[in-house]
Symmetry: C2
Amino acid sequence: MLEMFNAKSVAVIGASETKGKIGYDLMRSLLNYYKGKIVPVNPKGGTVLGLQAHKSIKDHGPVDLAVIVIPAHLIPATVEECGEIGIKNVVVISAGFKEVDTEGAHLENQLVEICKKYKIKLVGPNCLGVMDTYNDMNASFSSDIAHKGKISFMTQSGAIMAAILDYADKKNIGFSRIVSLGNKAVVNENDCMKDFMEDENTEVITAYLEGIVDGPGFIEACREASRKKPVLVIKSGTTSKGSEAVSSHTGTIAGSDSAYEAAFSQCGIIRVNSLDEMMDYSSALALSPLPKGKRIAIITNAGGPAIMTTDVAIKVGLELAELTTETKEKLNEGLPDTASVKNPVDVLGDATPERYAFTLETVLEDPNVDGVIYMVTPQSVTDPEGIAQVAIEHAKDAEKPILCSFFGGTSFEGAEKLLAEKQIPNYLYPKRAVKSMKTLYNYSIIREQEYPKSPEFDADKNLVRNIIENAQEQGKNTLGLESLDILKAYGIPTVGTAITTSVEETVKAAEEIGYPLVMKIISPQISHKSDVGGIKLNLTTAEEVRAAYHDMMENIPKLEPEADLEGVQLQKMLSGGTEVIIGMIQDPTFGSMLMFGLGGIYVEVLEDVEFAIAPVNESEAKDMIKKIKTHELLEGTRGAKPKDIDSIVDIILRISQMVTDFPEINEFEINPLMVFDEGDGALAVDMRAILKEGESEDMLQTSPRSSLKSTIS
Amino acid sequence: MLEMFNAKSVAVIGASETKGKIGYDLMRSLLNYYKGKIVPVNPKGGTVLGLQAHKSIKDHGPVDLAVIVIPAHLIPATVEECGEIGIKNVVVISAGFKEVDTEGAHLENQLVEICKKYKIKLVGPNCLGVMDTYNDMNASFSSDIAHKGKISFMTQSGAIMAAILDYADKKNIGFSRIVSLGNKAVVNENDCMKDFMEDENTEVITAYLEGIVDGPGFIEACREASRKKPVLVIKSGTTSKGSEAVSSHTGTIAGSDSAYEAAFSQCGIIRVNSLDEMMDYSSALALSPLPKGKRIAIITNAGGPAIMTTDVAIKVGLELAELTTETKEKLNEGLPDTASVKNPVDVLGDATPERYAFTLETVLEDPNVDGVIYMVTPQSVTDPEGIAQVAIEHAKDAEKPILCSFFGGTSFEGAEKLLAEKQIPNYLYPKRAVKSMKTLYNYSIIREQEYPKSPEFDADKNLVRNIIENAQEQGKNTLGLESLDILKAYGIPTVGTAITTSVEETVKAAEEIGYPLVMKIISPQISHKSDVGGIKLNLTTAEEVRAAYHDMMENIPKLEPEADLEGVQLQKMLSGGTEVIIGMIQDPTFGSMLMFGLGGIYVEVLEDVEFAIAPVNESEAKDMIKKIKTHELLEGTRGAKPKDIDSIVDIILRISQMVTDFPEINEFEINPLMVFDEGDGALAVDMRAILKEGESEDMLQTSPRSSLKSTIS
């Protein structure tokens, strides 16, 4: 909870009598509305806008909130003073901190330290201020306070706060709390998320964010908040591709936005891409009940616009309600012969307010209808205000959402004003009413969302730790096939594999793994193994293994005299099965991000993959599989048997635990994981892990390193 | 050209003195603005709104336009009278025709016949009327005439005309001609398209359509029009799936909208999905010059909104211009230190009109900039009208588009009004300015579009005609593999195939086709050939062919005593190659529609296919291939050799000609066409054609029919 919103006394440090100065605007903003005590502070003393000014905050003593608008270099000392006298809430309006240069960044660090010392909640620096309409407090240099309402808004852009306030004033959209976050030195989006969640006047939480300070904390805060109130977030700066060099498929495909997309969907955020969507949806969420389902009825006085509206409704995933026979009969009785009583219900161009009222009542009573789009176009006899009044009266007590679209211009100005005053959601274009209805429906699902814990598997963490430490000691950052034991430690089935350096060892390994086998030469100098006879397929006896080994060791040196032959890799030959990839990269904001997709062209050409932030729970793991476009190929299509999806889910969950246990793994990929028919399991065939720190080696190089020897079957 | 728009005299047949009657509204509408002669006609005579009424139009004699608002059953006789005295242009407002019942449809047919007889251009029936603002003619029952402007609009929904007029009045958007199309008994969208194209006051053509009367004519009209003026079309009713039963992949995948999507993109239509997009884009197109490229500059007084705008610009496919060093230096000199001179150019929150003017001038001069998004947010010192004035002054002579986004509310009302008055495109949300800029760019490409003719191949049409007639005589509607000769007739390479009924014939055919071969039993009763030994692979000698034949004829009857063995099918075994599908179905609006896609899961699971209306030209055929998501698989990916795309293009063109030559083919599919490496060609392996009329057989049944014998190699 941020106590600053309930402040009963506010000091303005840097208050000014001079018009055009922010210290003047701030005093004006407070004086216009605030009923608490206002304390101007100015080193010159005197009066400011009729109030006695104090030369220093210390001269006055503690207040509930101090708003600071003095030059940046003076601010640390001032905040220190605030701390000394016990002020716990500060807003720093002034700019000149980390957004300008390193000196500013240094100043900002000082601020952070002082706030830690005194447990001060500080908003800013470099912001527009804060508002709480229910406390009549406008502690910002926006001249007007917002209308009272149910939406709270945090924004990392002051200009967007200004623009939204100006727009909302025109449209009569009301707010509860508004925070301009500025540089987020102390108070960040997570604090505001929790505050808005707890604020009893807030029913809809909205945010404009350019970055997130603490990704995991944000996910946690939003999961909690979104079950109580809808959370709408604009995350801007989404198109830039991650600039960091990456060397896995996972890294190549993941844009900088993938992690946001995944995280937002995992924590119940309604992601919006523009301010118009945000205002449209938050108005509907603030003012309407939620629908119980997605079956809408459309009431219209014209056919053409209703067809377009139907198109949009189907496209966004709503359904046109099938009206009951009873409803249709009643409508048939009460409406003119040429009216259409099939949804969309066309009440005809000459519809009166009474006809609209009869139809709206009838349709609202229909158990098949979850919500109503109430459309009006200007026809020669239309009474816009009368028809608006009908919506207003019925929306008051309706348990189903009624979203209006008065689709016209000049002749609808009066009706629009009336609807805005009475707080009935109204959209010029029916499309926007429909999309808002879909958002209401989406939130009705999100609100019921459970976030169960991820399962905990027994894992041989020591083994993994040893492998990682061993590699680090040797200066190796890339672990390949020779480290399949990492997977075994987490109970992930792997294909029988051995790396051996003598003929006897190879034969022994072959007998252990079982036939048929593939043998591959290991040599850092040989990149096209098959060109030099370095791959032997389908070895079925010890004799064949022996012969293949001798053949490689004798003949390859003739073709590649410079190559070091470090040994061979034996692997069980698999038949059948579908290749999938399970990968992970570290996202700077959210940490370990998992990827799932089908192998080969599906990942490389179609980029048909799904991301999720780890740790994932079972339903999230299932979602990753279900959401790829080609999931049908796993479910069995064209007579093919379904694949063992349960095994994939299990392995995703185990990988999720592994990358969470070992954050020193920077990138990870099982490629391919061979998935067999339902009940037959899956086997990891190859893997790569890249560790943090040191120079990253090329992950795409597939020849395994020789130094580690292991046999896994 | 529709002469009615230039009418110098208008008769209102059904003119009335009674308020609330349409005959009254129409007289009012005309009297308010029209400077030509107005002739009221009413069987009672007397005066109407001060003008002498005639008892019949015959009493008065010819006028340039007659608008009719009498009961439907009286209208045919009245139009006949109009024809008799030489009236060539009629608008029928009255409803009661084919939109109500069969009697109405009969009346409408009468109208059509009368109009043919007298060469009358008739708009309607069941419409709102027509307008020409440059002739000051409002021959509609919308009370106000539109503002003069450069947009013309045809609409199949009267309500949408009313709504758009009301909206445009509020936003000061101007029109040249407006037509409410009604039932389109005589004058349809193609006539209006041609008229708008020729009207010198029209610079942007817009249309709301629910259906198209003559698809091929529409394509032709739009190809011509879109090279002269942008054509924006809303086609509503897009979500319903085609209900007709279809039996090919092509038919299954094609929704009812696929043909519209294909046709619109082939004839230069800018398809829009909602009225807000239509108004946004048509305003920009009417008022701005076209950009020479897609590199935009963003000028802003705030960072946050500019980031969001950049996101949208990149997403829709525009580029942020790289400003020249010269520009950056000049901006650095003229702007405050903390301003950002990198695109987006941030002129800071305290920007004055002068600072905006300096920046706009500088940016417009930059050769790297093709267009400017001029963004303003309300900050405490912002002078919205002054900044609007800067845009107005510079837009006047600019050769590059300047689209404004004054993103605020109450405080921007004055600026918005000013921009609307001065006809400067302005959008509340920057997103919409960006999408409008993209549309300007798109049109700059469309305007240069060429529509070369399709190539003409030599084809043995008689052979195809014989095959089709033969089949029809036998009551067969489905042609399968036995009709591969159809492809040969059009020069399409087919895999060596023979259908034979004796062992000697089979051996002879085998020698002709060449080895290796596959042999399959032909029997209508056997659906799983391999279960009964009815498929023999990899036959490499005459002896093997002989043995295989004997084996089948001896052993299959033991397993399937009831089966008629009609013979065998021999086909060359292919290796390598990628499977693609080329299909065609008949669309009720546009005729033959081709489909292209990769075979197997690409078509069945991913539905990754592209459609085009036949006949296609070479560049359209290439586009079909290029536009599928998996086209990379044909171009050579992951070291694979590129496939012979030229062959696919050639075969698409030949199929295009074939289905155009033989419209009696209702569905057609080559599945698969095997495409080999570049230079190695492609071979049709199987095909199905379904003819019109009679009962359609199941196209998915793959056993070839026996009666026709042919050898193709």
